[in-house]
Symmetry: C2
Subunit: 176 residues, 2 copies
Amino acid sequence: MQTVYLVSGPAGVGKSTTSQALAKALPNSAYISGDAVSHMHVNGREKPWESRSELLLIWQNIWRLTSNFITHGVDVVVDYVTFPEEAKWLQKQLIALNTNVVYVVLWTDKSTLLQRDQTRLPQHQMGERCLILIDEFENSGLEPRHVKDTSSHRVENLNEIVDDIRSNDRYRLKSE
Amino acid sequence: MQTVYLVSGPAGVGKSTTSQALAKALPNSAYISGDAVSHMHVNGREKPWESRSELLLIWQNIWRLTSNFITHGVDVVVDYVTFPEEAKWLQKQLIALNTNVVYVVLWTDKSTLLQRDQTRLPQHQMGERCLILIDEFENSGLEPRHVKDTSSHRVENLNEIVDDIRSNDRYRLKSE
């Protein structure tokens, strides 16, 4: 039985670092960056948070890639801002493949997120959007058991976080 | 009617530069790097030129992404070492979407390819594999009308190459 790991959370929380470490810890794994998938659309692209059809295109692409990997016996790590509704949608698309879906939302305090945002290159800074994302997660009906608070963690603890995501049952998305 | 552009050719011939310029010239476009899709598979990945199942996984991923983009009205540029059989296979998968498939194999002389290979970072140099690829194309049943010789072209001619790929009917893959 293959597993899809949805590593989510607001910008600056460490999704990419954590997802890549997770993919490297699994014996047969794929790493899908939602941002990379999103930017495959070159001209005509709309901002996914302003356009439902752009967001749908991205999720359909993530779904199809995930589905192919699972079919080939490969576990998948998806690194993207994923809300509970999207996690459930993906789980539903994959139902025939009998797949585990692990949904973890990395979290830390607002001031840390804003600090990290400012250390990025200007063109990658999210500014306001950063705070809006936090609010969106807080109003998304997210169940606390999917949240992993990393406030007290340092880079040295990356392995611990990865192990926790792999082994802790509380992140598993229940079938509806 | 949407178009899929398969920009192929041996390593070092300018696939990426040409594909990206092509994607930027189209009003609504996606750019799919076959290498990027291939490297989504992190652990357990085999070399696609040594493993048929790895190559199949890559092409299935390219197909599903392409199919989604086409369905959303987006033209697609695929930047990958694509042989005639693979181009025909993709065309067949897309048949229900009534899609144009443009297949162009960029070409130049061996010495230029080997020179360019040596200007790459050591970890990206292909060495022998470079020459093997040239032989593989020469024995692939490739029709001359799909070949675009870029030997006499310089960077300044990139727009000309892009215009040629967009407008020259000879690169269009015929339906079988």
